[in-house]
């Protein structure tokens, strides 16, 4: 079947289309120039915005820590209930929605691809089971590798090529997509009740530093030619004064960059951009980080923007989560994933009247507005850490409208308002920049060449928003921005209309991408490695890798490695 979207204002930054009135034609799940099938369905989208389907680079929607959060928070579910629909299942949850509800809500906002950013290799099976149960969207997961014993040993012995071969095996075994680093070295130290304070602190029992881990994995990433860069959650995250650590982290891989290709992605950067020495004098370090990002081309970041709401924090950063528990006194969970990583969950409420929370809110927006190129800074809330993903429309309205920001600025903590520079920023994103920060830029950073644009042969994932940019003054009518981005007029997934006016009309499965790394030599686990599995893991080696037929809809992305 072919589908023709007629006369929309098309925003397709990767192909240089900026709001021109065009037709988009799809057939067989792809964007095409000419249709062959006689069965042509025409939808008139005149006066509406047409964008590629959204691509979320960082959102915790599946996995063991997400499920632990669900167990920990029955009170999060009962206030937000989705009733069974004609094609949809029932579900619950505000900050940690159940899997099906997650898929439906993303599709209603026009998102069609979502990345799960923290998958402990040991919990990969669980993560994939949940991803299989998340319909409507394509997804992929990043395995956590920065505190893996085997990786740390290889880096200690300076065996980067062996390390690359091992990670190639891990990507295949866990069906992962990119290398995720969380507080590199710190989580291993946390196993002994310690943490690392800077990127040059030694990691206990290994005698290496976080700097070596970051550089080592960055080199591995290059050797393997993985589609995405290394995806880094910095050391000292969530601590006042940590912007220096972030600058050092970005700078330590600068010499590994070739030309203008990014080599490092700093995720939820808002949490890593604090000046000050303690919580009472915390200030924004956004300007310094933005200056660095503006001057260098080897870095991309995503925001981790806060919205003032009740949410659940969950990361693999065990020591950070413990600190958050001490700060908030809320119920909490902490977990040690054998030889691999750690994790923690703490419910949290961001309050407008709190100096710290209000400052955090300004930092996220300052990052987005100070960094000039939207190809370097992407919209996320680190769902659900800074806010649930359902707040994206609200954040888009803040980015697009100075008036929307000013309205909220009047209501936040006075000290935070007095100290922030957000009040002086006039910049407003236009729709093209929003399209970059939410789909084109993320797809490019992730190496998803068939996503995030509407060129021929791209996936037919399209979002149509009922918003007329020629008629409206978006800066003033920011309520309409929020409303439009909350519910698409049409969401098209794989060439089919799956959601219409905020209602899911067809349930589709969505594919799971993973990096199928082809090494020069066949990559088999050594008998020594298998023996270590017997010694240190609670899972047998034979049960560890996930066979491809285990996934409902597996889509390997072939990658040719240099080792």
């Amino acid at each position: 079947m072919s589908l023709l979207l007629k006369n929309g204002f098309v925003y397709d930054p990767l192909n240089g289309v900026n709001g021109e009135v065009m037709d988009i034609l799809t057939e067989g799940g792809k964007i095409v120039e000419r249709h062959r099938s006689k069965d042509l369905k025409i939808i008139d989208v005149s006066g509406m915005v047409v964008m590629p389907g959204g691509v979320d680079i960082h959102s915790h929607i599946a996995g063991s820590e997400v499920n632990a959060g669900r167990l920990l928070r029955p009170e999060d579910h009962f206030k937000d209930v989705e009733v069974k629909g004609k094609v949809t299942r029932s579900g619950v949850g505000y900050s940690i929605p159940s899997t099906f509800t997650t898929g439906y809500r993303y599709t209603k906002m026009g998102y069609t691809t979502v990345m799960v950013p923290s998958m402990p290799p040991l919990e990969a099976r669980h993560t994939h089971e949940e991803m299989d149960d998340t319909p409507m969207i394509d997804k992929a997961a990043y395995p956590l590798l920065s505190d893996w014993w085997v990786v740390l040993e290889h880096i200690r012995d300076n065996k980067i090529e062996e390390c690359a071969a091992h990670i190639a095996w891990i990507m295949k075994a866990t069906k992962g997509y990119a290398i995720k680093l969380v507080n590199p070295g710190g989580l291993e130290a946390w196993g002994f009740g310690k943490n690392v304070q800077s990127i040059d602190d030694p990691v206990p029992n290994f005698g290496i530093t976080p700097r070596e881990i970051i550089r080592g994995l960055c080199k591995v990433n290059k050797l393997l030619n993985l589609p995405h860069t290394i995806h880094v959650h910095t050391n000292n995250l969530g601590k006042p004064g940590n912007y220096l650590t972030t600058l050092k982290t970005m700078h330590c891989v600068k010499d590994l960059a070739e030309e203008t290709k990014p080599v490092i992605h700093i995720t939820h950067c808002q949490f890593s951009a604090y000046k000050g020495s303690d919580w009472s004098n915390i200030r924004s370090g956004a300007e310094r980080i933005a200056r660095y990002v503006n001057r260098n081309s080897h870095v991309t970041i995503d925001l981790g923007q806060i919205a003032f709401t009740d949410t659940t924090t969950m990361t693999a950063d065990g020591p950070f989560q413990y600190g958050l528990y001490q700060l908030s006194g809320n119920k909490w969970m902490n977990h040690d994933v054998e030889t691999e990583t750690s994790s923690g969950v703490v419910p949290f409420r961001y309050r407008r009247k709190s100096y710290v929370h209000a400052t955090q809110w300004t930092i996220g927006l300052e990052l987005a507005l100070f960094i000039r190129s939207p190809w370097k800074v992407f919209l996320t809330t680190d769902h659900p850490n800074a806010a649930p993903f359902t707040t994206y429309p609200l954040i888009i309205s803040w980015l697009m409208s100075r008036h929307a920001r000013e309205r909220l600025l009047k209501k936040i903590n006075r000290k935070a308002r007095r100290r922030c520079v957000l009040t002086t920023i006039d910049r407003e994103y236009d729709l093209s920049e929003i399209a970059i920060a939410t789909r084109a830029g993320t797809a490019k950073a992730l190496g998803l060449t068939w996503k995030g644009h509407l060129g021929v042969d791209a996936d037919a994932d399209v979002a149509v928003y009922a918003l007329n940019p020629r008629r409206l003054n978006l800066s003033k009518e920011y309520d309409l921005i929020e409303k439009a981005f909350e519910r698409t007029a049409y969401t098209i997934k794989g060439g089919e209309v799956v959601s219409r006016r905020g209602e899911v009309v067809k349930s589709v499965l969505g594919q799971t991408y993973w990096a199928d790394v082809k090494t020069l030599e066949p990559n088999e686990a050594s008998s020594e490695f298998k023996q270590r599995f017997k010694d240190y893991w609670t899972v047998q080696y034979e049960n560890y890798p996930i066979p491809e037929n285990y996934l409902h809809s597996s889509k390997p992305v072939p990658v040719k490695a240099e080792v």
Binding site: L72, R73, P74, E75, D76, F78, K331
Partner: protein
């Protein structure tokens, strides 16, 4: 007055959150008859389950429920005005999140009476179950305001995460009364099964009857002649304890001296 009389015996739970004065007020009697209620997983209307009579000679819009309503959940949920009178016993979550008005139950009530309540008055003339005035499972937002009076006995965990307001139990009470309490007052006229105020951080629990023991994380403060409960004063004398120290709490526990001679040992720790 609108009277709802049970038509047949209810076998499965019924979600009755639509039975509130707030919803009834704006509707005619025919509209009330077709208000949806879920009986188990079946969608029904009120007229399927109840005979609905409107006594139009009576101007007052009290909702009068008659029958064995132990399967009816959430009667009067979120109501903010008016009155509900129940001639019989009711099920769980009576007056959940209630903001104002009055509910009177002439029989017994099940657990979670007045959970997350924010105002108003609930009176149960019989016994009530556990978790009266508590928060939702996992939440720390318990009852914030209002009054709950139970004339009979009450179960355990009464006033869990209570933030303010008043709970009066005129009979006996189960264990863990005032667990995680933040503020407000619980008065128990009968005996308690103990573990009073576990993890409480603030508020006041007054017990006029027997208490098996006091938790080790409470310290004796003084002997008081009377205690203040809402606007009234209750005469003692009482042993007054502070706690829960494990939570750095500043809660106050008043326990009758006359009914608890075994607590005399604490007197030697009284500051002289």
């Amino acid at each position: 007055m609108i009277t709802l009389t049970q038509k047949h015996r209810f076998r499965v739970p019924i979600h009755a959150e639509n039975i509130t004065p707030d919803i009834f007020e704006t509707k005619t009697i025919d509209e009330i008859k077709i208000l949806p209620v879920f009986e188990g997983n079946r969608r029904r209307v009120i007229a399927d389950l109840f005979k609905v009579d409107d006594d139009s000679s009576n101007e007052d819009r009290t909702i009068h429920l008659v029958g064995d309503l132990t399967k009816l959940k959430k009667i009067g949920a979120k109501m903010s005005l008016g009155q509900i009178v129940v001639d019989g016993s009711v099920g769980m979550r009576l007056g959940e999140g209630m903001r104002g008005g009055t509910i009177t139950v002439k029989g017994n009530a099940d657990s979670w009476v007045g959970t997350m309540m924010k105002g108003g008055l609930i009176e149960v003339l019989g016994n009530a179950g556990d978790y009266i005035g508590a928060s939702y499972r996992g939440s720390t937002e318990g009852m914030k305001k209002g009054t709950i009076v139970v004339h009979g006995d009450a179960g355990s965990d009464v006033g869990c995460f209570m933030k303010n307001g008043l709970i009066k139990v005129l009979g006996n009470i189960g264990s863990f009364a005032g667990i995680n309490m933040r503020d407000g007052t619980i008065l128990v006229k009968g005996d308690s099964e103990g573990r009073l105020g576990a993890q409480m951080r603030g508020g006041k629990i007054v017990v006029l009857g027997h208490v098996p023991s006091i938790l080790p994380t409470f310290t004796i403060n003084s002997i008081r002649r009377r205690a203040r409960v809402g606007n009234e004063r209750v005469s003692g004398p009482f042993y007054m304890y502070n706690g829960d120290i494990a939570e750095m709490g500043e809660g106050r526990l008043y326990v009758s001296k006359a009914k608890n001679p075994h607590l005399k040992v604490y007197e030697r720790y009284l500051p002289s």
